[in-house]
């Protein structure tokens, strides 16, 4: 069994193979095949279509591109408006010929949002790409499971082994190694990553098929790339590797967020384009990386090594303040990647990516990387740095948890609610890492959260799929009856995240709340409990708005009035099956940390069999406080949105409520603040710099140039053309020189 750990490099290798195959073999084939098909279709189009002789070939080409493949049998145009798909190409042509680009674009947009937009089908090669990606992922998942089982009961392995790969660089006594490191923490993380990745890839087959069939193969390639990056990050043995993984993850995320290269329909005018969201995500992450990098450099400069296992030995005797500063800077990276306040702004926008991506990256895995980083360097935070470092972690997490929960309460976009909920839950994890004596509670919540949040996102993806991309919860309602196979697992996950007992979320969240008390930090306790209440409320608000509503079964819990205008269509097996599979850990994963049943997650994750298991939550009276609050939250949501006995605007009618609502709804205006900072800070500086170049430096250079030329033009006039002037200059010059010569010789001394 040890082989699963010793050769753990297999895990990233398999997706790597899939990536290379997809990128360099299958995708080119796919493209070539499509091109051929397109030209075929173009020919067919030519013969069928009855367009006039004089239509330019370019316009024809454009129209053809826009409909992806031939879909034309008849022409039925109503000027500038499209009623049937068949009318589209001709309408476009007309628009192109008559009024140029603008109208064509408008039509194109309109066309893309048309319910009968022909998405086409991925080619056989594209499907192959999907299979290859999934196969690779499945291999990795199986290997990770193998590694997990190899670790069970093997304390030596749990403590970790280094798997050297190769030497990247060496200078004298310092080395930059490319090494893997596997311990229980790694393996848990890997299992989460591979499991969620596998299911998401499986799910994506159907999802992407309808969203962007042309990018099918590319999408799977990027998913594999992401998986590899995440595995490198997880398996890294040193700060160099983790930074490499860190950045690669950022890039994969960038590529995947921006994957849908078109604008989605606006909701309340507030949604950015995917490419803008991708940009924002990457740059915000870079802000965190900036701190992370400096933190790494401080540690490296102090110890001369990047290796996690060596740093503690070499840090002995180093100034604690310096280490504290370094660790806080390292935590900056985590703040960026895990979307904690103040760098949380990218995550809600990242929801513009395809929903499977949101589930995989922006809920379950990548955003957990920050948590993983702190867990990985837990020893440094708690044993080497001053207490301030852990405090910063805990309070950042706590504040963010509450902050995001407040925003989540009032959002109307389904995915945004989930995004803020993710931010909030990540805050919990940091609280756990900040206050607990081990990285157990934080990692435990990471694991459980990964499953139920992935489930929630995939569920929301199912909804979006059913509603052709509609994300506004006001246009939903009662969907549980229409898509029960999606609704049921989502309900389980919603219960889990709300902290309903016996579900995984309950165990992990409650452990963290308990740790804040154990740590004696009342403020954090209040924050976390309050957040638990809010979580239950907003999650069920979302549930009722989406799946339930007045008139549904069980008092509006299941089904109800549908407010949308798109006819929901039931998703296929490839969508609901992963949901069902994810429901399993959503329910049961929590028992790994449930001591009465023998679960001792803490011992496993720390590699220390003697480590005390998490306390049995049902013994601790304080637990019932949070359970009560959770049910209270659910209850209020039920009353407001399920049964609608309390009007939804009950609290926002008064000015204070209205103001708060606006504040929450606008995310505390953080985005606006940042935009202002960028515009009046960075861009102002940039413009000053450019002006400095243009006016000062170039001014000097050009000034010298024109000055010399000017002097030349002036001196030129001295040549008057009169020989007597020349003679005068000659004699005058000679006399002056003679006089000066005499003066210098006689008076110079």
């Amino acid at each position: 069994m040890d082989i699963f750990v010793r050769d753990i490099w297999v895990i990233p290798l398999l997706p790597l193979i899939a990536l290379v195959l997809n990128l360099f073999l299958i995708r080119p084939l796919d493209v070539a095949y499509r091109d051929r098909a397109a030209s075929h279709a173009g020919a067919a189009h030519d013969s069928h279509a009855d367009h006039s002789e004089h239509s330019s070939s370019e316009a024809h080409y454009t129209a053809e591109e826009l409909i992806e493949s031939s879909y034309v049998s008849a022409i039925d145009t109503v000027d500038g408006h499209i009623d049937t798909p068949a009318a589209m190409p001709h309408a476009l042509q007309t628009a192109q010929q008559t009024s140029g680009g603008k109208q064509a674009v408008a039509l194109m947009r309109q066309w893309e949002q048309h319910p009968e937009h022909p998405h086409g089908q991925p080619t056989v090669y594209a499907r192959l790409a999907g299979f290859v990606g999934i196969a690779g992922m499945f291999g990795s998942f199986a290997w990770a499971i193998g590694a997990l089982f190899a670790m069970f009961g093997n304390t030596a392995l749990q403590k970790g082994i280094t798997i050297p790969l190769y030497n990247w660089l060496t200078f004298g006594s310092i080395s930059y190694h490319v090494n893997f490191y596997a311990d229980s923490l790694t393996v848990v993380m890997l299992v989460v990553v591979t499991a969620v990745s596998l299911l998401v890839q499986f799910y994506s087959q159907e999802y992407i098929e309808s969203e962007e069939p042309r990018g099918y193969a590319r999408f799977f390639a990027w998913l594999s790339l992401f998986a590899i990056s995440m595995m490198i990050l997880t398996l890294s043995a040193n700060f160099l590797m983790i930074f490499i993984g860190w950045e690669l993850v950022g890039v994969s995320s960038y590529l995947l967020i921006g994957f849908l290269g078109k604008d989605a329909p606006k909701i309340d005018g507030g949604r950015p384009s995917p490419s803008a969201a991708a940009l924002k995500a990457f740059v915000t992450n870079r802000v965190g990386d900036f701190g992370f990098l400096i933190g790494i450099m401080i540690l490296f400069a102090q110890t001369g090594t990047f290796t996690f296992t060596e740093i503690p030995q070499k840090l002995q005797g180093t100034d604690v303040t310096l280490i504290t500063a370094a660790m806080i800077l390292v935590f900056c990276g985590a703040v960026g990647k895990s979307a904690q306040f103040p760098l949380h702004v990218w995550l809600p926008d990242a929801m513009e990516g395809p929903t499977p991506v949101s589930a995989l990256i922006h809920a379950a895995t990548m955003v957990a990387a920050g948590v993983y980083l702190v867990a990985r360097t837990f020893l440094l935070f708690h044993s080497f740095a001053g207490p301030q470092a852990a405090m910063v972690v805990a309070y950042t997490g706590g504040f963010t948890a509450l902050f995001a929960a407040l925003i989540a309460m009032v959002q109307v976009d389904l995915k945004r609610v989930l995004a803020y909920s993710t931010i909030s839950q990540l805050g919990y994890m940091f609280v756990g890492l900040g206050v607990a004596g081990t990285d157990g509670p934080g990692m435990f919540h990471l694991m459980t959260h990964a499953f139920f949040k992935a489930l929630l996102f995939l569920g929301s993806g199912g909804v979006l799929h059913a509603l052709s991309g509609q994300q506004n919860m006001r246009k939903m309602g009662g969907l549980a009856a229409k898509i029960p196979l999606v609704a049921f697992p989502v309900l389980l996950a919603t219960l889990s995240i709300s902290g309903v007992p016996f579900l995984s979320g309950f165990f992990s969240k409650d452990e963290i709340i308990a740790q804040t008390l154990a740590h004696g930090d009342i403020a954090l306790y209040v924050i976390t409990v309050l957040t638990a209440f809010l979580t239950a409320f907003y999650m069920f608000r979302a549930w009722f708005l989406t799946f339930g509503g007045k008139g549904g079964a069980f008092g509006g819990l299941w089904g109800g009035k549908y407010r949308g205008d798109v006819h929901p269509h039931a998703p296929g097996m490839r969508i609901w099956l992963p949901l069902m599979l994810l429901a399993i850990p959503t329910v049961f994963a929590g028992y790994w940390g449930f001591a009465p049943l023998g679960g001792n997650f803490n011992a496993f994750i720390t590699g220390n069999p003697a480590a005390a298991p998490f306390d049995n939550p049902f013994v601790d009276p304080m637990t019932y406080v949070s359970i009560t609050l959770a049910f209270l939250g659910i209850g209020i949501a039920w009353l407001m949105y399920g049964m609608e006995v309390i009007p939804a605007d009950a609290l926002t009618r008064n000015p204070i409520g209205k103001g708060l609502h606006a504040l929450f709804f606008n995310k505390f205006y953080v985005d606006e603040l940042y935009m202002a900072l960028i515009r009046f800070g960075i861009f102002l500086f940039a413009k000053i710099a450019v002006s400095f170049d243009k006016y000062v430096i170039d001014g000097i250079i050009n000034g010298i140039g024109s000055g010399v030329l000017g002097i030349g033009r002036g001196l030129r006039k001295a040549e008057t053309g009169r020989l007597q002037n020349y003679g005068a200059a000659f004699f005058g010059g000679a006399l002056i020189i003679a006089a000066a010569f005499i003066a210098v010789v006689y008076f110079g001394k």
Binding site: F171, V251, Y254, K262, S273, S275, R286, D289, L293, D693
Partner: protein, 529 residues
């Protein structure tokens, strides 16, 4: 004499003459053949020693004992109090080989990538070849006077290339380039003379040969305008001025955006890929190695200027609307890494010389990295420009739909440029950061801000031009052709390879750079600072 270096330097000149003599239709092929042959020969610089030594990287030697040497007496005069000796002394150690191969490769690719040049193609190709001669000479001259002579050869070809084949403001850009460059080389000559005669009078041996200069350093003070400074510092500053202009270092950088923007694609590639490296190479090879204690004294200002370069260039890039100008300013920013790395290598502190070597290696690698990656960026923009005749970032939009190949490779270049791990840019930047930090913690902290700005402007540009909805104006735009993709893919493979296996490059550089580090630490210890 091994003749290989001589052939490498002058074969392009022969090529230029051949191109001028041959019929017009042949010029492109002929120049491709010549640059191709030069490139193949240049790889022997690496392969040859590797074979002969059985793979021992130490064989490349250092500045005092380079592996490749071509030497012949040229000028030697002793009259009155003057002793002047200028040898035709070419040499190549790891650092030189590195740059020579890069130059040969990029020139070759530039010739391949000049398919769009239809105006006066013959002259264009001849000038490219002439340019290659000059740059080759710079990278393997092992006599300071000879170095200076080669340094200026590049001037005229580059001037004409910009002035004839450039864009709208080519005249202004070309002249600015010339003024800056000539000013720099004049000051450098003053520095060289000062070094030569000072060292000569101190040691009694008048020689400008690199192996002499690397082992004997000027000492003592000089009084200039009533200001007494150490001789090394003065000489360093004089010679460095030329390199600072070439690098380019703030505040001598304003020629670059203009030159880059106006130059034709392949010339921009060479400007960024090679000509800027002449400055970096000179800084490492000459300024640091021959005036170690001068460099040491100037380390702080140098580091500050490097950081200014990084941040300032980045900020300027942020607000450019011209794609090439943005890349040009990004060059300014990226070359700041070189300056910072070198400053850290010569700077105070850092008890462990390994850090300094890491920083210096980072700086040297940044030369390669920036050369290849910026070349990719320029080639990509060139492809776009050839079709659209526009470079305004905002004028495009959604090109991804029409140009998937170009988008793919351009994104690759952009990601490499912003330091994506696994690509060579990361290696260099990471080495510079981690190596420099122990010397200049605060400055490096400020410099690290660049990682954010870089990501910002590059990705923002990508977003505006390539992603998002397609601007219908470009409905008819076609994707990059295979010929256009060739240089891009070649470079991409290289960037990826070095990113994953940097040790390959480091082996080549290590003997040279390690020797420099030892020189520095020796000098610093001797001066008691």
């Amino acid at each position: 004499m091994s003749w290989l270096l001589t052939i490498l330097v002058f074969l392009p000149t022969v090529g230029a003459l051949a191109v001028m003599a041959a019929p017009r239709g042949l010029s492109r092929w002929l120049s491709a053949v010549f640059t191709g042959v030069v490139f193949l020969l240049s790889t022997w610089l690496y392969i040859g020693p590797m074979i002969s030594s059985g793979g021992n990287a130490a064989v490349f030697g250092n500045v005092s004992h380079p592996y490749w040497v071509d030497q012949a007496p040229w000028i030697n005069v002793a009259i009155g109090s003057l002793q002047l000796k200028i040898d035709y002394h070419l040499g190549a150690d790891g650092l030189s080989i590195f740059m020579l191969i890069l130059n040969a490769l990029l020139t070759f690719l530039a010739v391949l990538g000049s398919g769009n040049i239809s105006k006066r193609q013959r002259e264009y190709m001849a000038l490219l070849l002439l340019l290659e001669t000059g740059v080759m000479g710079v990278f393997c001259a092992f006599d300071l006077y000879l170095f200076w002579l080669f340094w200026e050869i590049e001037l005229i070809p580059m001037f004409l290339l910009i002035a004839v084949w450039g864009g709208q403001r080519r005249e202004y850009a070309a002249w600015k380039f010339v003024i800056y460059t000539v000013l720099g080389s004049a000051v450098m000559l003053a520095g060289i003379l000062l070094l030569y005669f000072n060292l000569g009078s101190q040691t009694g041996v008048y020689s400008a040969s690199f192996n002499w200069l690397a082992t004997h350093h000027v000492s003592g003070n000089l009084t200039v305008l009533g200001l007494t400074m150490s001789s090394q510092l003065i000489i360093f500053l004089l010679i460095y001025t030329a390199f600072a202009i070439k690098l380019p270092m703030f505040p001598f950088h304003t020629w670059l955006p203009d030159a880059h923007t106006e130059a034709p694609t392949a010339v921009s590639v060479l400007l960024a890929g090679i000509l800027l490296k002449m400055g970096a190479y000179g800084l490492i090879r000459i300024c640091v190695d021959f005036m170690p204690s001068g460099a040491h004294q100037f380390a702080w200002p140098l580091a500050i200027l490097g950081v200014i370069n990084m941040v300032y260039g980045g900020l300027c890039s942020l607000v450019q609307s011209d794609m090439k100008k943005m890349i040009a300013y990004s060059s300014v920013s990226h070359m700041g890494y070189v300056i910072l790395g070198v400053a850290a290598a010569v700077g105070p502190g850092a008890t462990n010389p390994a850090f300094k070597e890491a920083a210096l290696t980072g700086a040297a690698l940044q030369m390669f990295t920036h050369g290849t990656i910026t070349a990719m960026l320029f080639f990509s923009v060139g492809v776009l420009y050839d079709r659209a005749h526009l470079r305004d970032i905002n004028a495009f939009g959604g090109l991804q739909a029409k140009m998937p190949r170009l988008t793919w490779i351009y994104s690759f270049a952009v990601l490499a440029s912003l330091g994506l791990p696994g690509l060579s840019g990361f290696v260099a930047e990471y080495l510079v950061y981690t190596g420099s930090f122990s010397t200049f913690p605060i400055l490096v902290g400020v410099a690290a801000f660049t990682v954010i700005i870089t990501a910002g402007y590059l990705l923002w540009m990508l977003k505006r031009s390539f992603f998002g909805p397609l601007n219908p104006k470009w409905n008819g735009i076609t994707d990059a052709s295979i010929l256009e993709m060739t240089p891009l893919i070649t470079l991409a493979v290289l960037v990826l390879f070095v990113g994953v296996f940097p040790q390959f490059m480091i082996n080549l550089l290590h003997p040279s750079l390690n020797n420099i580090i030892q020189t520095i630490s020796g000098a610093v210890t001797a001066s008691g600072r």
